[in-house]
Structure formats: structure tokens, C-alpha cells
Subunit: 199 residues, 2 copies
DNA sequence: TCAAGGTGTGAGTATGCACTCACTCACTTC
DNA sequence: GAAGTGAGTGAGTGCATACTCACACCTTGA
């Protein structure tokens, strides 16, 4: 049960092969921007495999279908959001700030800086219409986020609805870069300071 | 100048060919559900042409690229929304009802009954990330809808923002059929009666 | 009646895709 | 060291796709 080789140099890992779990992580990391940019159908698995540094054949061993890979990417983007919200809520608690507002700000920052998370969400929403696996993943996503928001903000269902609605608007406005448009509609729909969605 | 064959049955129109404009309309009608279901990349132009009752070759004469066709479909879905809102506002005016509320209800009905309009919007939003033509079409769409809503409801920018945010939430919840889910998050996020978004 | 131009197509081309198969090599166990 | 298992791949297969081209037919105007 003891590792046999204390003899080999300890600076290098004795193992040259990666574990399947490491590869899976690498694939998800590589897949995220590709799905974000091109959407489900136009994202080539060859490109994802290349980005992960493995062969396409091995990609399909680890994720038997492209759809399973897509769902895993949706779940990963959900995890990113959960992390973001949790950190923001922790910070709000520590500094005595309004958690609803802090989580909202953190979300705006997240989708503004990490467009992959945003675009994966949008593609997944659109695919939900006719791809049951994506629909399920999106429902799970909303379930988790709603539970987290309810717990950390203590808001009423009505307040939470408003807060989610604001999030959906941020998504779309960010996707079309409305903040770069100098027109009344764009100014009105991208004004998230001193916001009605927060408390 | 007289059609040469008064001998043929007069119940048939003398013209056997359609005009290009009629064909264009037929193509858009056929393209809408295909793009809605499959998204931009996975929607085959062969299937669209077949649905429109013409050859694929002629489709490409009328819409030189698939992208132009996609943009035209986005614009058509915008027109549907404009019609819906206009009718609802007219009705509200005629019957002394609140236009904001009536337009909101009409929108919910539209996306609930005509999923094509909804899904085309969602696909277009997702494509906006990396397809400038789709982004432009979506911006135009928001510009037109915002102008209409502002004129017909007289709402403040803040009120209009709330109203649009509610619309974005309706979109997503409808896409994932959240109203069929019996869980707290789904009940809260699909409760659009007596709504905070309406005045 | 005939030319001009619009309507319309069959049959491609070149490319890209998800997924498979047969196979090699690294590592562990006994 | 032998035997088993998991990591990893080169080289496909079969099919679908956007777009093209040469060509035919219908309609109109003079």
C-alpha cells in the first residue's frame, strides 16, 4: 500500500500519463470557449480535443457523446455562478453590506469579464427548446441559483423574481454589447446603478 | 396581350410562376420553425427550401447567404412582436385598460403559443456574441420595441427597464417550460399575475 | 414574333462533421 | 516477469452541408 518508489526524483511526478479526471477537466476548460463562441452544433469536437491537448478519439472515450459534453459545460458554468454568488454573499456578510446588491454587482462583473459563462448560458437557453438534456441542465441551474439566492438574501419570492428578471436583462444586454450603444433604449436598459432590482 | 389560352380552364390563375417577393415570404415562413428548432448552424437550407416548395438553388438566389436569411428571420420575428404589442395597446386604449399590463399579457400569450418567435429570439441573442449581423438585428429589435413601449405606455425609463426585464424572464422560463415544474423556484419565477412589472 | 429578363432547377463540388476501430504504450499487481 | 488494466491515438467511415453552375422555361414589351 506504500508507494513503491521513493527512489525516483521527487521533483518530477513519477507518472507520465494523466488521470482521466485531469483530462476531463482539461476538456471542459477547452470546450467552454468553443461552445460559447459557436454554440452547440457549430462547435467542432476536433477543436476542443486539440485545445485540451488530446486526440479526438480519447475525448469521445471520456465523453461518449457531444451532448454529454455540452451538458457538462453547462454545469461548469453553473458552478462558476454559484462560486461568484457565494463569494459576494460572504463579502456582504463580512462587511455588513446588502447581499442582494452585492450579488447583483458580482453577477454583472462576472458576465462582463467572462463572456464564456454568459454565452454558454444563452446557447443553453436556446437549445432548451428542443434538447431535453439542455432543458434539464438549465432547470437544475435555476433551482440551484434560486435556492442560493433565497438563502443568502432572505428575499421574498416576489423580490427574488425581480432579481432574476434583472439578471436575465443583464445577460441579453451584455450579449449585444448594449453599453456601447449611445441611444435611449440602450441607456435605459443598461442602467444598473442604484437599481430597482436591489431591495 | 391576351393570354394565349382562353381554351384552358379559367379557374386557374394565368400566371404559373410566382413573384420573387412571394417566394421570399414563403422562404421566411418555412425558415422560421427550422431556425427556431435547430438554431443557426444546424438549420439546413435544404430543409428550408423544401418547406418553401422551391429548390435550394433558388433559395440561394433570393437570399445569397444563410446569414442574410437568418437576419431576415430575426426581423420577421421582430415584426410579429411589434404587431402583437400594437394590437394590445390599441385594445387597451379602446377599453380603457392599462396598456403596460395588456402588452405584457399579450407578450406572454405570444411566446407561449408561438414558440418559434421566442426561440428565434433566443438563438439570435446567443449568436450575437460572435455574429455581428445578429447583434445588429437584435439591437434594432430592442430599439424598435423600446420606442413602441415608451410611446404606448408613457412609462419612465426605469419602468420600461423593469418591463423589459420581466419580458426577458418570461422568455427564459417559457423556453425551459418552467411552468410545468412543481418547485419553489419555478412557481416564483413564472408567477406573472397581478404582477410587479406592470405599473 | 422575338429578344430580354425574371423564375426556376438538377446535378454537382468541396468541405467538415461526429463518431469508430484497431492498435500501442504506460503503469500496477502479484 | 507475466498478466491485466487504463491512458492514448492514427486513420479512417459515412453522411450532411453551404454554395455554384449551366441550363430551361415563363412572361412581358415592342
Amino acid at each position: 500500500m506504500v508507494p513503491p518508489a521513493a527512489t525516483s526524483t521527487p521533483t518530477k511526478p513519477s507518472r507520465t500519463l494523466s488521470t482521466a479526471e485531469e483530462r476531463r477537466e482539461a476538456i471542459l476548460t477547452a470546450a467552454m470557449p468553443v461552445f460559447a463562441e459557436k454554440g452547440y452544433h457549430a462547435a467542432p469536437t476536433t477543436e476542443i480535443a486539440k485545445g485540451a491537448g488530446i486526440s479526438q478519439a480519447y475525448l469521445f472515450r471520456l465523453f461518449p457523446t457531444k451532448e454529454e459534453l455540452f451538458v457538462a459545460v453547462i454545469e461548469r458554468s453553473r458552478e462558476r455562478m454559484i462560486e461568484t454568488f457565494t463569494e459576494a454573499a460572504d463579502r456582504a456578510d463580512a462587511e455588513g453590506l446588502d447581499p442582494t446588491e452585492q450579488m447583483g454587482i458580482a453577477y454583472g462583473d462576472l458576465v462582463g469579464s467572462d463572456r464564456d459563462v454568459l454565452l454558454v448560458q444563452l446557447h443553453a437557453q436556446a437549445m432548451s427548446g428542443f434538447m431535453p438534456a439542455a432543458r434539464k441542465a438549465m432547470r437544475d441551474c435555476f433551482a440551484a441559483l434560486y435556492a442560493l439566492a433565497a438563502e443568502r438574501t432572505g428575499g421574498s419570492p416576489e423580490e427574488l423574481k425581480l432579481w432574476f428578471a434583472g439578471g436575465m436583462l443583464i445577460n441579453v444586454m451584455t450579449a449585444i454589447n448594449a453599453e456601447q450603444v449611445d441611444q435611449p433604449w440602450a441607456r435605459a436598459l443598461t442602467d444598473f446603478d442604484g437599481d430597482c432590482f436591489n431591495g
